[in-house]
């Protein structure tokens, strides 16, 4: 299977290693991976701000870039939800509606792809320590991905998964929300981090780098030693 | 235009554009175009036992959770004795009640002063009663509720104003769930419903202070249901 990677813009800039981890895992499983270099951003920031026309032209760009891809794998539940759920809405009644739906159907969030498309839940990873998993809201509720990341983590050697009380509570990132309402965003992050602290784990794992950026940001300010990892970075370790 | 016409015309104007119909995971519409048959709810609501005995047992269990006193009586005499004991233990001086086969039978044996509601009553008189004795329309196993009406329970206030409400019911009044209770009421009253019907589920309660449960907020602190053959 030929897989095209969709690397969200902030992963490209801040967490490129996560993208490389995905490449490593997919190749280890024997798949050819491709990165269409003309890709930019899914268009979620203007979309969430209400500027749908501006979001649509950006989305059109990605639709063209991935037109000939067989399967598109994306490392973030949030950007994945943008493509899978919101592209069809954004293009409702638009000449390219059918194309938007086609891209939505062939796009998969990384953990969803491994577990539900490839049927793989053991990627042969080894990562010793105690960890808790944070559900990114878009992955959890738009894409309904409660189970796949946990199934993958269960098979990581040496890893003990501890559920936190507020696993499904939003970390407070929310894109531009974090900048427009920093006080609310921070309070939500504090609630999240208190719940993480309660578990006494060594690291927090998530399938969304944007949530991890928020959680890391708060943990650093609090001086907490808990480490943060993207799911792919954990699964890439052998 | 009258107010009625103003609002109705606004509504009709608004509804000219149709809203997307809710489609569900299986993409099958449950029904078209009006409500599903009421008994279809039963497949989603909490399960109820098939036999009357199982339903009585469920009612008992629900009563415990709700802090309702529930007692299955072997005969009318047992019910009478039970109420007499309640009256003696709690020092009832005055009780409110209405005319009815069961209430009459029990009331005969009680020495307390009686306030009959069926022909009207003074509010303060009823308010000062120690207990209210009523019959009911039905008992609902699924929820542990009693359905009362203005007709079967001596009006609106008798079952809520005194601090202790006692319900006398017969076994054949036990129904499985709200659907059946409402259906029975519709068959019984047709277009002549009483102006008041109430599902009572446990004694009055509140959680308004720090979400801590307190019984007897404004209505009865105690609810006792006696099931007769």
């Amino acid at each position: 299977m030929k897989i095209s990677l969709f690397i969200p813009c902030f992963v490209d800039q801040f967490y490129p290693q996560t993208g490389m981890s995905i490449v490593k895992i997919l190749e280890r499983l024997g798949h050819a991976v491709d990165f269409p270099e003309a890709q930019t951003c899914c268009g979620q920031p203007p979309f969430n701000s209400g500027y749908w026309d501006e979001a649509r032209v950006v989305a059109e760009r990605q639709m063209s870039v991935f037109r000939n891809s067989e399967i598109v794998v994306i490392s973030s539940g949030s950007c994945g939800a943008m493509v899978k759920i919101f592209y069809p809405e954004l293009f409702h009644g638009h000449p390219r509606e059918a194309e938007a739906k086609t891209l939505a159907a062939k796009t998969f969030e990384f953990s969803d792809f491994l577990v539900n498309k490839l049927g793989v839940s053991d990627v042969g990873a080894k990562f010793p320590g105690r960890a808790t998993f944070h559900d990114g809201c878009h992955g959890l509720r738009e894409l309904n991905l409660k189970k796949p990341p946990r199934q993958l983590l269960e098979h990581v050697r040496g890893l003990e998964l501890v559920e936190m009380k507020e696993a499904e509570t939003c970390c407070g990132f929310g894109g531009t929300f974090a900048l427009k309402f920093p006080m609310i965003s921070t309070a939500m992050g504090e609630v999240k981090c208190a719940s993480i602290a309660e578990t006494g784990v060594d690291f927090v794992i998530s399938n969304d780098s944007s949530c991890l950026m928020q959680i890391r940001g708060i943990l650093d300010k609090q001086g907490k030693p808990v480490k943060t990892f993207h799911l792919a970075d954990v699964l890439a370790q052998t | 235009m009258t107010n009625r016409e103003i609002i109705l015309s606004r509504i009709r104007e608004a509804l000219k554009i149709s809203a997307p119909h809710p489609t569900f995971q299986d993409k099958v519409q449950i029904r078209t175009p009006i409500s599903p048959p009421a008994n279809s709810f039963q497949q989603w609501l909490p399960p109820v036992g098939e036999t009357l005995e199982a339903q009585i047992e469920l009612f008992q269990k629900n009563s415990e959770n709700l802090k309702t006193g529930f007692r299955v009586c072997a005969d009318l005499n047992e019910a009478v004795q039970f109420v007499k004991t309640l009256a003696a233990n709690n020092g009832w001086k005055k009780i409110g009640l209405h005319r009815g086969e069961l209430t009459d039978a029990v009331a005969q044996e009680l020495d307390s002063t009686k306030v009959q509601t069926e022909n009207g009553y003074a509010v303060n008189d009823l308010e000062s009663c120690d207990a209210g004795l009523t019959e009911c329309e039905s008992l609902i196993a699924q929820t542990g509720s009693v359905l009362v009406s203005a007709i079967s329970a001596g009006g609106r206030a008798l079952s809520v104003l005194p601090p202790h409400h006692i319900v006398l019911a017969r076994r054949n009044q036990m129904v499985t769930d709200l659907t059946v209770a409402l259906q029975q009421a519709q068959e019984k009253f047709k277009n002549n419903f009483p102006s008041f019907l109430s599902f009572i589920t446990g004694p009055s309660r509140t959680g308004d202070i720090e979400r801590i449960l307190v019984l007897g907020a404004h209505g009865p602190k105690k609810l006792t249901i006696l099931l007769l053959p």
Binding site: R141 | I7, S35, G144, A150, S195, T201, G219
Partner: protein
Amino acid sequence: MTTQAKEFSESARRYTTDLRHRDLIQKALAGYYVKRDENKNRFQSWSGARDAAAEIKWEAVNHLDRYLEEFVSKLEARGTKVFWAPSAKDARDYIIGVARQNKVRSIIKSKSMTAEEIHLNETLEHEGFEVVESDLGEYIVQLRREPPYHLVFPAMHLTRGQISDLFHEKLNSAPTDNPEDLTMIARRAMRKKFCEADMGVSGANFAIAETGMISITENEGNARLTTSLPKIHVAIVGIEKILPKLSDLALFLPMLATTGAGQSLTCYNTLYGGPRQPGEPDGPQEFHVVLLDNRRTELLADAEQRDALHCIRCGACLNVCPIFKNVGGYSYGTTYQGPIGSVITPHLRGLHDWKHLSQASSLCGACTETCPVKINLHHHLLHNRRNAARAETSFSEKILWRGFSFVMQRPKFYRFATRCARIAQPLQRLVQGTIFDPLRPWTKTRSFPQTAKKNFYELWRERKTP
């Protein structure tokens, strides 16, 4: 920024840093979550029940004219007086008229958010009537001259100590930290009011078209007393409260109790179909139903968000909303708080003044997930944002997103912009945390990641051509 938006931000800033408030709300809701889940799990299929409830409300709301006419004709046939109120003022004027005609002095009220919406209490008091809220939580906030903090739990922001102090001050009761004692103090104070009131005012949870009845859900018994003892009962009912059939209650009552308060059924679910009928011992001589539009028809006209009229005001979306739990009920400045309030207030009171509530969300979707009638709440927040951007474009935002989309359509520009950002970041580090820091809203409370030395694009290219 509008006055409302400023007030929201200021209040949110206060509450989000008030750790006592955060703790109080978390504790108050902890028990609710447990009970809610317990009761959900008793359902053979909660999702089946939700689908059916959504479908029934869809049917009612999308044929609202037909069902309202049926409801009204059935009510009128039993001697109920129905008043159609296009606006809040029409409703208030009518209720004042009824009170005057009947020489009413004191009015007892049971909890009604619709009455809150039209500011009924203030108006009645202004006209010289005594109005007493009988629901315990409502009574507490009324004594404090505050609006309800939460749709369903009006006084959840107060501790027993605060309530004891309040009762001591207003009712001269002995201080106590026992919730039961406090409840009994209110019960005793209220009994007298119930017996003396000339008029009872209530809301309604459902309006049954088939039989012409309103249904009121409560736990305390105060609504039952409000509607039993006074000689007049006025119920104020939003037009969207319609359910087609009486049997629909068999589904809606348990669902409302489950998501509203974590109960299998609330203590009293009462149907009222008219004033006292011949042969009945008690009940009001007059029963008035005030049907309120007050711009609900504007929401109805928005087909995309019409399902927001399915709302049964259970408050479940507030209870799971991380925004609500952190900013608290009062920050909203609306009658209806939380996600549902953020969705509908722009329709009821104007998008210009209330769009900020739709922006103050991380769009986590917990509200939509919990809603018993499946309102697409968090997507409607997005719709409000889009409508706001269309209605009145903010020049600076427009420039920002135009620029963004210009760059993101052109991979070469994007690559260039990322290189610029990498060069600029050390400069940002120099001013980090100061007022010159462009990332200050973020960096004031959070660390900001370093841009990677090589971005993914570069790593990928290196790997391809070693």
